[in-house]
């Protein structure tokens, strides 16, 4: 169905999110940090990006800013994985150009529902 990029420095989260999205028929690629994600994003055309905030090398906010600077990702839905306690991160994320967020912890169904919101 859709091509989605998952970015999270935790392998278990990547696995879970990837498996969940794949089960709904999506094509998933993933990266462990913002820098790697940016590289992958440049070489493909994703329909949506789901990214964690706290990552080494390049964090989620930076990644959003850098993605928005790419012409192909001007309007691409970008979702941030946030925790309930990071209200300011949501604001920062929006200011950086993020589309929305998904609050951790989330279960697979919530993930699928949220991703469905941003896909055409």
């Amino acid at each position: 169905m859709a091509q989605i990029l998952i970015v999270d420095d935790s392998a278990s989260m990547r696995n879970m999110v990837t498996a969940t999205l794949q089960s709904a028929g999506h094509d998933v690629q993933n990266a462990g940090d913002g820098q790697a994600a940016l590289t992958i994003a440049k070489s493909a055309n994703f329909d949506a990006v789901v990214t964690d905030l706290n990552m080494p090398i390049m964090d989620g906010i930076e990644l959003v800013k850098n993605l928005r600077a790419l012409p192909t990702y001007k309007y691409t839905p970008i979702l941030l994985l946030t925790t309930e306690s990071s209200a300011d991160k949501k604001t920062q994320g929006k200011q950086a150009g993020a589309t929305g967020w998904l609050v951790k912890p989330f279960n697979p169904d919530k993930l699928l529902a949220t991703v469905a919101r941003v896909l055409n």
């Binding site: 420095d9 935790s10 392998a11 278990s12 989260m13 696995n15 879970m16 498996a19 969940t20 089960s23 709904a24 820098q35 940016l38 964690d52 706290n54 990552m55 080494p56 090398i57 390049m58 930076e62 800013k65 850098n66 928005r68 600077a69 001007k74 309007y75 691409t76 839905p77 970008i78 994985l81 925790t83 309930e84 306690s85 209200a87 949501k90 929006k94 200011q95 950086a96 150009g97 993020a98 589309t99 929305g100 967020w101 951790k104 912890p105 989330f106 697979p108 919101r117 941003v118 055409n120």
Partner: protein
Amino acid sequence: MAIDLEQFYEVFFEESLEGLDAMEQGLLAVSSADEADPEDINTIFRAAHSIKGGSSTFGFTAIAEFTHVLETLLDEARDGTRTLDTGAIDLLLQSSDCLRAMINALQAGNAIDTSASAPLVAAFEIMLASPNNSNDNTSVPAGPSKPATTSELSSNTHLDIVAASVDNLLSDGGDSNIDYPDDSGSTQWRISFKPEAQILLSGNEPLRLFRELAAMGELRTEANISNIPAFDQLTCDECYISWTLWLTADVSREDILEVFDWVIDECMLTIDLANTETVEQEKFVPLAAERSQPPAPEQPKPAAVPTAAPEKAIAAKKASESTAGSASIRVGIDKVDSLINLIGELVITQSMLSELGSNFDMDKLERLNSGLEQLQQNTRELQESVMRIRMLPISFAFNRFPRMIRDLSAQIGKKVELKLSGENTELDKTVMEQISDPMVHLVRNAIDHGMELPEKRLAAGKSETGTICLNAFHRGGSIVIEIIDDGNGLDAQLLYNKAVEKGIITAATELTEQEIFALIFAPGFSTAAVVSDISGRGVGMDVVRRNISALGGRIEIESKLGRGSTFRIHLPLTLAILDGQLVRVGSQVYVVPLVGIVESLQIKKELVNKVSGNMTLYRLREDNVPIIPIHQEFAIEADNTRLEDGLLVVVEGEGQKIGLLVDDLLSQQQVVIKSLKSNYKNIDGISGATILGDGSVSMILDIPGLIRRVSDRKSKQKKPAAQHHAA
């Protein structure tokens, strides 16, 4: 489709353990630095954060709750409102131990014991309640932060009634005041939605929002296109349309608000009951003043990360691997590529030989020979390359020492500094796993027995803080690991007396300094009056030496009284292949590991001496070396059973020498070690077998084993009286 989360648990456990290693390393780095490196703080924070995120996602609430407290403290450290002092670092280190135990418990399928974490949580809460030296003086004691919900977020926006814009909206909305008959059971809502021009640039699409609303019930939309500028001023990435929506659905206001939760500050939104005439006074005005312009395209930041941090993380990842003895190994892709290249060359050689083989005639003999030489080269390179795959840098084994030394020196009141060098020296993964515990024992020993108390050191003119160096390097076909301390060194006289006292040697025995030092490896030997808790717990030095021998290595000691000691471990680079000397005894060919061979010589009759109880000794310079006829030892036939003109292979193991009487010295070659255990069992005196070039099996001698066998026999012979009594 329901996803079973259990399939992700194991990865979560592994990465959490790695994260804890990274956390520990980061904490140690922060504690030893004058000023904490922000990257270290970030690494520590991320580790805790990841564990918290994963544990709550996968339902491990005990871990999630515990980690939450850590994260709160670390968050303060991250934003500068708290500096991590020794107390905080100790608490965090203890917590990481506690988390490790919890994760191990989960991995093993046991229940988590919260009795260890509860007091730590209490300690954190106390710490969090008292602000400490912060850079920003507006710090407020922050308890564990409370979750903020999206509705909280939106309700924090200003509830400004901007009459003018309301009028604007109403008049431009056109038919917005039309009432529609509502269905029974559901409510009719009227929504006016005026997105900001840049809404599309955040990836939000009004159409999708309407789709969500339409899924709730019946939706009717009306667009207001009056704000669309003239065509030549139109920019296609801006939204100039606003809408009025009528939704008939069995939903609450909050349900509708939720649909707009991401865009709440990028639009003007009103949600009213459709049959109300006036607009409700609540309105959501975008935080236009605070909202910054969409970020100008920035140059992607170069990955200017201090290389220390990722390396530490990588090293930490690998540390957990080596100590866990896992059945898998991470291999650098360069090693895999090298292997692929060599296989390619092998294939070329093979097809060349194959071609020579069809239509062969004697003219081609030389080409055949050079092809076979090529094959030999390819095989050797391939062998080296494959063995390299099993090799990891010794840093994995070294990594446990900073923490250990910190804890240990604090525990016994000595000041010890650790210096590491040669961390990148590579060795076989299994060898490293098995040398780790002996190394720990040697380091503990060095600190416990070798290192003086600070006062003593000062009195002796040394620096108060002692130094332990761990050093590793390659020499020949081996890896050498040195544990060097600048403590009080070994007292040969003391050791000698102790050994006599323990009956290990007699008072008349003459020993070289090296041999005296080697006494500390004798079973039952311990110079501490009270076996100290740290190093004496049943793991003696004899086990250390035995473990090293079992790996095909050896250990030597250098020491200067008052100055310090060096323990030097030699280990083979691989356990699969051995450099051996082939010897023949009768019809049998044996392999003697080269690492154990001192020298081979022709026996000179005058240097042979018979000593009490069937021991035949050979005088080799100042040593008396027991002669062991292999044919007797193994009950086989030999060509030469006399000692005169015999061939003696002098070997050494565990500090002792013996001479093996053989018939013939054959070639020296590398042999592949094959275990006898797969189809048979271990044999005394034999460490394995190999298949020679002619397809026959050859036994590999276990030199330390043979030496032990002989010395056991010697000690039994020394006490003939006791034997008679032992009925």
